[in-house]
């Protein structure tokens, strides 16, 4: 994992409280699991039907019935629980998931999120993402600050089809930590060696700078 990705996932892991139920999206969000301290007793939910995602199984010990929401072999820890899809989304939509971590294509000042339709590519379907960002108590976006060609992803207004309206609570990138407030996007933490000017120059939305800006 690149240093910038490690910075992001480490910081995201620090958002969780003891005993939280957390759903991690596919890709970089999945890596957050490696940085949650065991003593936090955080439980991970897999929306295909269980709580208690454990370490990946050793090769040769995979169980055909136990996969994560990406279809990858998984394990379920003692103290976990299995359920059907309606119950899984009752947990999600009902606000019983304390935090969900997802990637984004675009986020905007109003907390709108676009992360399910990639322009010019086949539409994969929203899967559980729309329910997750609508229902989870805390929606945390973990992503690189700009696109590969350097264009801003944190916008005044999303241009792609939305996943949900006014849903994002926090954005964590390799440059900083931002909170979506009713006034706009508040920069609360900044990565070591990054200036406010630099992060603003890579962000289309106007950042509000916290009076209490910390180093990430």
């Amino acid at each position: 994992m690149s240093d910038r990705r490690e910075l992001i996932v480490k910081r995201v892991a620090a958002f969780f409280n003891e005993g939280d139920l957390v759903n991690l999206g596919i890709g970089m969000p999945t890596m957050v699991a490696n940085y949650i301290p065991p003593e936090a007793n955080v439980m991970l939910q897999s929306e295909n039907g269980f709580i208690g995602i454990g370490p990946s199984p050793e090769p040769g010990t995979e169980d055909k019935d136990t996969v994560n929401a990406g279809g990858i072999p998984a394990t379920i820890i003692p103290g976990g629980a299995c359920f059907d899809s309606a119950t899984s989304f009752a947990l999600i939509r009902g606000g019983h998931v304390d935090a969900t971590v997802l990637g984004a294509l675009e986020v905007d000042e109003a907390g709108n999120l676009a992360n399910w339709v990639v322009p010019g590519k086949l539409v994969p379907g929203m899967g559980g993402a729309m329910d997750l960002v609508t229902g989870a108590k805390k929606v945390i976006i973990a992503m690189e600050h700009t696109t590969k060609d350097g264009s801003p992803k944190i916008l005044k207004k999303c241009t792609l089809p939305l996943t949900a309206v006014n849903a994002v609570d926090y954005i964590v990138t390799e440059l900083g930590v931002m909170e979506v407030t009713s006034d706009g996007i508040l920069l609360t933490e900044i990565a070591p060696g990054v200036t406010v000017e630099e992060i603003q120059s890579k962000t289309e939305a106007k950042l509000i700078i916290s009076d209490n800006l910390k180093t990430m």
Partner: protein
């Protein structure tokens, strides 16, 4: 009242134009033998309802690749490129439904409800064409029940009355679909005698199951 049948006997129930729910999440908990039987029968213009369209050579994916599917109502098609291709050429209609909404629509049909209000999809393209209601200042979409002619399910154990038990993540949509189809056919890894399953352990009551096939 013998619900246990051979795989060959079930193909007589398949017809063109049927709507068919198929359990599973990326093929885990999908009744592969029943899907194979449906492919073999070759009926066409099917409406397939399931979480996803699997992989091109596994699960629901086989029914996409075979060209038997007219419409797919699913939450995800990203693992089967053929679905996207046929959708783009107009050979396949794909109705993408948020996963929680899909599960709830299936449950809703089986529970005799006329629909439900969900916040999921408000302000997105999922809202298009749907009635919305505002309750206590919060906007919801009215989502309607989803039922089918046939459900093809996978269970870990079935007793001879059709009481079902599932394992781990293979449960997923199976128990919901058992309530929501006219004819419920189950592929069970193990078929046990009545009384071998504890009454508290049963997830799907046997009364919902019509036919059991040994996996």
């Amino acid at each position: 009242m013998n619900k246990v049948k051979d795989l060959e006997e079930i193909t007589g129930y398949f017809r063109d134009n049927q709507s068919i729910m198929i359990g599973g999440f990326l093929c885990v908990g999908t009744p592969e033998l029943l899907v194979d039987a449906l492919v073999k029968k070759g009926v066409r213009d099917l409406t397939i309802i399931g979480n996803d369209t699997g992989y091109p050579d596994r699960g629901i994916g086989k029914l996409i690749v075979s060209g038997q599917t007219k419409k797919a109502i699913v939450s995800h098609i990203g693992t089967n490129k053929e679905t996207g291709r046929l959708m783009n050429t107009g050979e396949l209609e794909v109705d993408l439904v948020p996963q929680g909404t899909l599960a709830e629509r299936i449950r809703s049909a089986g529970a005799g409800l006329g629909g439900f209000l969900t916040p999921t999809g408000v302000g997105t393209i999922v809202e298009e064409g749907k009635q919305t209601l505002t309750i206590d200042g919060k906007k919801y979409l009215l989502e309607l029940p989803l039922k089918a002619d046939i459900a093809l399910l996978k269970a870990w154990k079935a007793d001879k009355l059709g009481n079902l038990v599932y394992r781990r993540a293979a449960r997923n949509f199976n128990p919901l679909m058992a309530f929501s189809a006219e004819l419920v056919i189950v592929e069970a890894e193990e078929i046990v005698e009545v009384g071998e399953l504890d009454q508290d352990e049963v997830v799907t009551p046997g009364t919902l199951v019509d036919i059991i096939v040994k996996a």
